[in-house]
Symmetry: C2
Subunit: 519 residues, 2 copies
């Protein structure tokens, strides 16, 4: 891998005719190899360099990093030294943190683990943490929480492969703007106050030591840039991972969660926006809604003939609740079978005995108490459905608004990337059926999984990508979603199943089993 | 001063229309002001930035530095903040250290002090210290010695002006290659072992904190580059200070000490060499020779009629010995009066009773015991004179060899810079009279004083000069003085007073009082 962060060099030996200093000899060789203007070397490395070079007979491996366009050397090893040179990619989620160990010389992924963001102890939501960070003690506490757990987990992950954390020379961190601030010990106070100003958009590269991270003493940490308070480094990493930034044709990338973050563009331009898509999509809002986990309903089918619900739970355990992808499946299936009308209301005549009245609200029993792990009926209420419909309408309206801003309509897209772990589990047919995403051929959809982690890992694989990340950050125009009359009109039209304009969703028409729809 | 390291900026205020982050807002304004590609900001500075900017209403002073061609910000103050922004220039001598406090905003020198290099406690000469530095403990001890005293003296110097060491944001250190290594904690072991390889030629810019220096926490330290083990940063600083690097016409710069370091060149090219000029020039070799100090003979005249010696001592105290400039004066006067012949031998018939035989060697009494502070005769021996003549011959041969290498002869020079404190005290007429330096019109000679300190101070005055220092370092060709037959022939010819070829020294002929010379 020629673009790896590790370069093997056979330096010319010092002589009376060539008495260039050790560091400059190495730098000159690297400069011509990399075509670099200059290369920085740490003081600590200079101290060790004479012995390292002589013990290695000037045949070495240099571990590199980049810092705002300039190369630097984070470590020098003998070419014969069998020690690994590792990188660590980090997806710094508000709830969950995922880290992946990468071989910096070969670019290969070695191991991966995930753990709860320990800042959950301070507050499950970003806002609580931002308020907690208002005092310096709070900031220090929040930073320590995440840094300590990163150190612990990194050491364990390295050990699981027979390596040490000191073998890690380069880390890449992708998180949303607030998480990035908390990780760096920066005050996120102004992120949530008009006019919503982060401390920094392009944090750049820092010494691991300065951030409190226990990796190699020379290790560097690249922190993904953001383009504002509501469009973070996790999304920039996601764009990099998707390859949207390299495409000729315009594509869209959607990261679905509490917020829907959307990027539209190609290799020449990008336009982005973020909007509240509603908690219904993430689980937690519906009475039986929850995060994905064992026993959680993640897929639902309904037989059009018998109207029997065929549910699938994670690990095939007795059902305990339903997650976002299950909700979307359920709503889609209910609609296609006529149990929901185009306004998203339960159709009593079709639902039959499954429909019950509880606390003055209509509920549809999804799992009878006999079959549920909880010992009581698992049901969704009309309010749950209404909430889901608002969320899906918000999502579609955001897509429509963004495409309209460049004179396109959603159906004109040829590539639709779905990012985020949650996005991986959505059944696109269901999402189309409820009108959450446009009615594109299924092969236009591409799920990316954890694109934030993927993007972070990618820049550990190739030393060309720091500049590409900066280019992505610089080429995005952020569209402030103005909730004006135009937006509200679009939103109202999208609050139907799948939409007030059925011609936007021709495939749904074919899937509908009832005669009521679209005629 | 537009090229000062401090820039005052009135940033645009954040708004919903322009929600660029604090750091990026500042960096963008600086980038357009400086025409810079990118500008680095420390993590510590990022932590303070939101408060600093808001308290200053975004009207700020940025303190800058450069690190291998890239700009960085070492501090941000409110434009209204009356705190000074200081720089510290350091001449890191083997024996003596001189520091100068500079106003970074205005470039003005504020105060200066000097102190003995505390590493003298380990060894007066470089070699002892280099051996001491072979162990890590030794290196740490030597670095601590110099860093601690720099911290102490810097704090005292700042206090003497009513400032604090934390007001110092930028330091520039010029020293020879070994002193630079010891200051940075680098192992100088290979400097003195064939093929004489320093750890680093261009140390670049480092954090003061990392070097153990107690300045502003964001302060940076620029360490002057060297071009080898025997041509150090003090000389590069001297070239910068002299302006030789900017001249159309070829000039020469000579730094006289134990070593004679010589640079010949102009704005397009430079060629340098260093050679042992002999300890006779620095005092210490002659029995009565010593460093300049109270009571030391620094000037000598001899009446051609009475042959009476007219001596001048520092602070007009009773004489205790003689320093290098006094020796050169003495030898010149003895020669011009006929007391030394062209071979440098005492002429008994002219010296008369002043000439005594001691320990089998001829001695010339310079000061009778009655007039000496020491209570015994101050005399110089034939061996002392021989040693001086070898030194001056070595010096002239070096000049001749260097100029010859570019097809010039010493008399063709139009500008002759004499660097070093010692150089400031040499009487050029005397130096010409003994044939130590070429017989140029006296207005060609320009003494620079402490050019190492001067050069270090200059780069604190203008942010353009880091690149110029690199350019100087890169444009010097180092000429290894090959002691071949050619060199030995020149050396033999130069071991006469002033030279075997009197036509090279026409002015000396006119000054000679005896009839024996040049006829």
């Amino acid at each position: 891998m020629t673009r790896a962060w590790v370069k093997t060099l056979e330096l010319s030996l010092p002589s009376l005719k060539d008495n260039t200093a050790d560091a400059d000899r190495m730098i000159q060789a690297l400069k011509s190899r990399l075509g670099a203007d200059d290369i920085a070397v740490d003081l600590d490395l200079l101290k060790k360099l004479p012995d390292v070079l002589r013990n290695a007979d000037y045949h070495i491996r240099c571990v590199l990093y980049k810092d705002r366009g300039r190369w630097g050397i984070s470590g020098v090893l003998s070419a014969e030294d069998p020690a690994p040179v590792l990188g660590m990619a980090v997806d710094l989620g508000t709830t969950r943190v995922v880290i992946r160990l990468v071989d910096l010389a070969g670019g290969r992924a070695l191991a991966e683990t995930s753990f709860d963001n320990p800042q959950l102890a301070v507050g499950p939501d970003i806002l609580t943490r931002i308020h907690h960070a208002d005092s310096e003690e709070g900031r220090i506490r929040l930073q320590r929480l995440i840094v300590d757990s990163l150190n612990r987990e990194m050491a364990a992950l390295c050990a699981s492969c027979g390596f040490a954390a000191t073998d890690v020379f380069l880390m890449a961190i992708a998180g949303n703007t607030a998480m990035t601030h908390l990780f760096m010990g920066l005050n996120p106070r102004w992120i949530i106050r008009e006019p919503y100003i982060p401390v920094v958009n392009r944090p750049g590269t820092h010494r691991a030591l300065q951030l409190g991270l226990c990796a190699n003493p020379g290790a560097r940490v690249f922190v993904f840039p953001n383009i504002g308070s509501y469009f973070g480094g996790d999304l920039i990493a996601g764009i990099l991972y998707s390859g949207l930034n390299q495409r000729e044709e315009t594509a869209i990338l959607v990261d679905v969660g509490t917020n829907a973050e959307v990027v539209l563009g190609n290799k020449n331009w990008m336009i982005a926006c973020a909007g509240a898509a509603g908690p219904a999509l993430e689980g937690g809002a519906a009475r039986m809604g929850m995060m994905a986990g064992p026993g959680v309903i993640d897929r639902v089918a309904i037989s059009p003939d018998t109207l029997q619900l065929d549910i699938h739970t994670i690990e095939n355990l007795p059902p305990v609740g339903i997650c976002g992808s299950g909700m979307i499946d359920l709503a889609a299936q209910l609609f296609l079978c006529g149990m929901l009308d185009i306004r998203g209301k339960f159709v009593a005549s079709v639902c039959g005995t499954r429909l019950k009245e509880m606390d003055g609200l209509k509920h549809l029993v999804v799992v009878n108490r006999e079959d549920a792990a909880t010992g009581h009926d698992l049901s969704i209420s009309q309010a749950d459905i209404d909430s889901l419909i608002r969320s899906k309408a918000a999502m579609y309206t955001i897509l429509e608004t963004l495409t309209a801003s460049v004179g396109m309509a959603p159906p004109e897209l040829t590539r639709f990337y779905v990012a985020g772990t949650f996005g991986s589990f959505i059944n696109p047919v269901s999402a189309i059926s409820i009108g959450m995403i446009p009615d594109l051929p299924l092969n236009c959809y591409q799920t990316l999984g954890n694109s934030s982690l993927g993007g972070a890992a990618r820049i550990l694989e190739s030393c060309d990508l720091f500049e590409e990340v900066d280019r992505i950050q610089g080429s995005i125009t952020y569209l402030e979603l103005n909730v004006n009359q135009d937006f509200m009109n679009r939103f109202s039209a999208a609050k139907f199943l799948p939409h007030t304009d059925p011609s936007l969703f021709p495939s749904v028409k074919q899937r509908v089993y009832t005669e009521g729809y679209g005629r």
